[in-house]
Symmetry: C2
Subunit: 134 residues, 2 copies
Amino acid sequence: MKIVILGCGRVGATLATQLDKAGHHVVVIDNNSDSFHRLNSDFHGETIIGSGVDEDVLRRAGLAEADAFAAVTNGDNRNIMASQIAKEIFHVRKVVCRIYDPIRQSTYNELGIEAICPTIVGADLMFHALMNTK
Amino acid sequence: MKIVILGCGRVGATLATQLDKAGHHVVVIDNNSDSFHRLNSDFHGETIIGSGVDEDVLRRAGLAEADAFAAVTNGDNRNIMASQIAKEIFHVRKVVCRIYDPIRQSTYNELGIEAICPTIVGADLMFHALMNTK
C-alpha cells in the first residue's frame, strides 16, 4: 500500500517506521526538515518538506495515487483541513485524522472522517490503570 | 477511593470527571487556575493551585492519605519527578504517570513506575485504523 503521513512528530515518525517495516510505501510530509531526524536511520520511504494544507504539496507527495492518508500534526484544524482535501479532492479511500479535542472528534466522525482522539484514549487508559490497584 | 491528579489539561480534566462520576474523591492540582475551567460544572472534587513537584503542595492535596496518584502534566520530567515523590515519600500504593517519550517510558516501567505512553498507543491506533481499509 502507498500511505502518506502528514506530520513527523513522535506519533508520525513512529507510525511511518511501523508502516515502512511492514513493507508499505510511505511518504512523510512535514514543514520542518528537522522533524525527519525522528525517522529510523533505515527508513526506506520518502520525505517531503511543506505544508499539508497546500494542495501542490499533497500532490507532490503522491496523494492522487495513495491508498491511505494519516494526518497527525499537532494542530487539530490542520489535520481536519488536510483530511478533507485528501478525501474530497484526491479521493483517498482511507483517511484517518488525529483530533485532540473530544467534541470536534465526534463531529468529524459523524461527517465521515475517521478521527482518533488521544485525549479520550489517554484518559481511559489512565482510568483503568488507576482502578487496577494492586 | 481518594485519587490525586496532577495536571488539569485535556486528559487530566477528562480523567478527573470520569473518576468523580464514578464516585471517587478526586483532588486535581495545576499551577494555572484557568485550567480548572476544563472540569465539568458539576465536578464535586477539590482543586489545588501549585506545582506538582513541591512536596508541600502534594501534602496539601492529601497525598499522604491518597489511594492513587496520576501525573498527567505536559512535561515528562515533571510527571516522572512527581511520581517518584508520590511513591517514595508519600508511599502511594498506585502511581501512574504519562510519559510521551517511548524510550523513557520503558526505563521507568522497569523502575516500577507504571507509565503510559500516548505516543506508542496513538501510533498503534493509527496503524490499525489505516490497515483496516474499507
